[in-house]
Symmetry: C2
Subunit: 104 residues, 2 copies
């Protein structure tokens, strides 16, 4: 009710391994290339979110197609920008709706 379960970083690498079918090495490598950014607990253990898991699967698919990390990184940057633009449009729409509901 309070949190966003999808983006909360609570999953250890062992579970991510199960969920994605990737090796720990592969999972960590994606962090090395900045494609995912897990949190760390106090003692340094990586914690991933369900979002991270989904991202990892998508990355793995790209790589199987022969796409290199740098290009994947570029695509993700682009998608992120588009998502943010969409978010801005939605917020403006919300503002307008609120305005007309109040004013008239």
């Amino acid at each position: 009710m309070t949190d966003d379960y999808k983006s909360k970083k609570v999953i250890s690498i062992g579970v991510v391994k199960e969920l994605t079918g990737l090796s720990e090495r592969q999972i960590r490598y994606n962090e090395e290339r900045k494609l995912i950014l897990p949190d760390r607990t106090a003692n340094g253990t990586r914690k991933y979110s369900f979002s991270d898991v989904e991202t990892l699967v998508k990355i793995a698919e790209k790589r199987e197609e022969g796409v290199q990390s740098y290009e994947i990184s570029q695509e993700m940057r682009k998608e992120k920008k588009e998502g943010e633009a969409q978010m801005r449009r939605n917020m403006i729409r919300g503002q307008l709706n609120a305005h007309f509901r109040t004013k008239r």
Copy 2:
């Protein structure tokens, strides 16, 4: 996209401890009393869902009020029944809607 993040059992007891503020002992005790049922990994490590975490918090609140495990258990059984009844009503409603949309 495919799974229900809220009910997927992927969280280890250490994280549940952080999330709820309860001790490991307290968390395990609730399992002993059958108030929550975490999954187990191959080697026996407990895995909880976000739902379990929410349930644990609610249980802890009840206990602070002095309610005993058995009564908490009864209340939960009751709430579960009500939830299922509501689910059945919703499904029947869906059936009816589908029927009328098709037949006329």
